[in-house]
């Protein structure tokens, strides 16, 4: 995957990392908080290339993976109501709730349309004025501003058949929960590149300030990740902690102030339920009261689930522990046996960017030795 020049560069970074790692008196656990990093690390075999004293843990960095089963069920019941079209990003279609997935609901007749962007969802509402189009708002701070823009467009056009069912979540509160969890040992974070394109570095300062841990905003190529790991070890060596930016080509310290103001104007902070982590105070984004007319929760009721699949019928799933970096996919008894990308049990195998899917795709040798 790397060209010759990149391979040379990677070798240089690895040497520098090895030098610093040799001085460590204890292993350093580095959590990557973005599914795209998880994929890049697995794809380039970085885990195997690093010294044994450095452990890369995958965190709760894929919005699809952390969507609660009850939220999937609520979307399904919404889409089953006559007159409603549920518009969603394709990523969400195969995620299992308690009552199946959106894909299964669609096969069963529910009106669900996959869209590439909220622009498509708004266009869908314009094209079918007799249908109520509800957009399933999922994603972190990278995605939520694009949903805010769609609400602004609908408000400006007086579009009354478009609304958003917001399941948006914010990254910094989840990192605080992980840092506070006595079971979880994280020494540093590889910060999500595009979340920081929007947010900048300020919302992550508490990691360096309060917890005295290195934090590096990182790009998505192998050498970006290696450079970030070296930057983390440098902070560790100097005992000077900061939110540093490796991914300078896409991230400014102040983030994108226009996008931040969209987040502030169109959403209010609320608690959110994360699969694997539970309820995290102040980690969700609900549509602001000023835009309640475009809040699907104000317009529709999704009846609560009464049917719960008996738990003994479900194969064991360690996604919760995997999302906290407590277990690796290889430690899950279902991984690669009754949980595969074709028949996923948990969300980390469903999403292309989930830790289990990334391990499954890029580490066949380890699979075979199990």
């Amino acid at each position: 995957m790397l060209n010759a020049q990149d391979t040379d560069k990677a070798r240089e970074w690895l040497q520098k990392i090895e030098q610093l790692a040799a001085e460590l008196d204890h292993p350093v656990n580095i959590m990557e908080v973005c599914g795209t990093h998880t994929v890049a690390i697995a794809q380039n075999g970085l885990r195997e290339l690093l010294p044994a004293s450095l452990r890369l843990l995958s965190g709760p960095g894929c919005p699809v993976c952390v969507t609660d089963e009850a939220d999937i069920d609520a979307l399904i019941r919404l889409a089953q109501q006559p007159g409603i079209t549920l518009a969603t990003f394709g990523d969400l279609m195969r995620v299992p709730g308690e009552e199946g997935s959106l894909q299964e609901a669609k096969a069963g007749g529910a009106n669900i349309k996959v869209v590439y962007s909220t622009l498509d969802a708004v266009a869908l509402a314009q094209a079918q004025p007799e249908q109520q189009v509800v957009f399933a708002g999922i994603g972190f701070e990278t995605t939520a501003p694009t949903v805010a823009v769609s609400i602004e467009m609908a408000a400006r056009q007086g579009l009354r058949n478009y609304s958003v069912w917001s399941l948006h979540k914010t990254v910094p509160p989840a990192l605080r929960v992980l840092l506070e969890d006595p079971e979880v040992q994280i020494d540093a974070f590889i910060n999500p590149g595009h979340v920081c394109t929007i947010l900048g570095t300020e919302p992550f300062q508490f990691i360096a300030g309060e917890y005295q841990k290195p934090c590096v905003v990182t790009g998505f190529e192998a050498n970006d990740i290696l450079e970030a790991i070296w930057m983390i070890l440098e902070q560790h060596r100097l005992r000077q902690w900061a939110v540093a930016i490796q991914y300078r080509r896409a991230v400014q310290a102040a983030g994108n102030p226009v996008a931040i103001s969209y987040l502030q104007n169109f959403f209010v902070v609320q608690d959110a339920n994360w699969r694997g982590l539970g309820i995290i105070p102040g980690s969700g984004l609900e549509i602001a009261p000023a835009y309640a007319d475009w809040n699907a929760r104000m317009r529709f009721v999704s009846p609560l689930s009464t049917r719960r699949r008996p738990s003994e019928s479900r194969p064991p799933c360690l996604c919760g522990a995997i999302l906290k970096g407590l277990k690796t996919p290889l430690e899950c008894p279902s991984f690669g046996r009754n949980c595969t990308p074709l028949r996923p049990v948990g969300p980390c195998m469903v999403s292309q960017e989930g830790a289990c899917a990334a391990y499954y795709r890029y580490q066949p040798a380890q699979l075979e030795t199990r």
Binding site: L119, G139, T143, R249, A250, V258
Partner: protein
């Protein structure tokens, strides 16, 4: 899911722009980057420009896009394989 790809802005039309993403043109929203001009490079996420980047930076990121295209092709093959098994 927070994937973003670089694109070159070809034409601006109000809140929308036509962009070139490695040879494919498509319409994207530019409300989050109101300063953008034709000829600029932007990072595109979920149909919206989320940051203006410079050309050299865009080229550096193009590689990732090509890798993702490979990844997708690979995944298709892998799913077909699985289906026939």
């Amino acid at each position: 899911m927070c994937l973003a790809v670089p694109a070159r802005v070809v034409e601006i039309n109000g809140d929308l722009a036509t962009v070139d993403i490695v040879g494919n043109t498509r319409a994207i929203g530019i409300s989050l980057t109101p300063e953008v001009q034709p000829g600029d490079y932007v990072l595109v996420h979920a149909g919206f420009a989320i940051q203006v980047i410079d050309e050299a930076e865009a080229q550096a990121t193009m590689m990732l896009l090509e890798e993702m295209a490979l990844l997708e092709a690979e995944t298709e093959g892998w799913q077909q394989e699985g289906n026939s098994a």
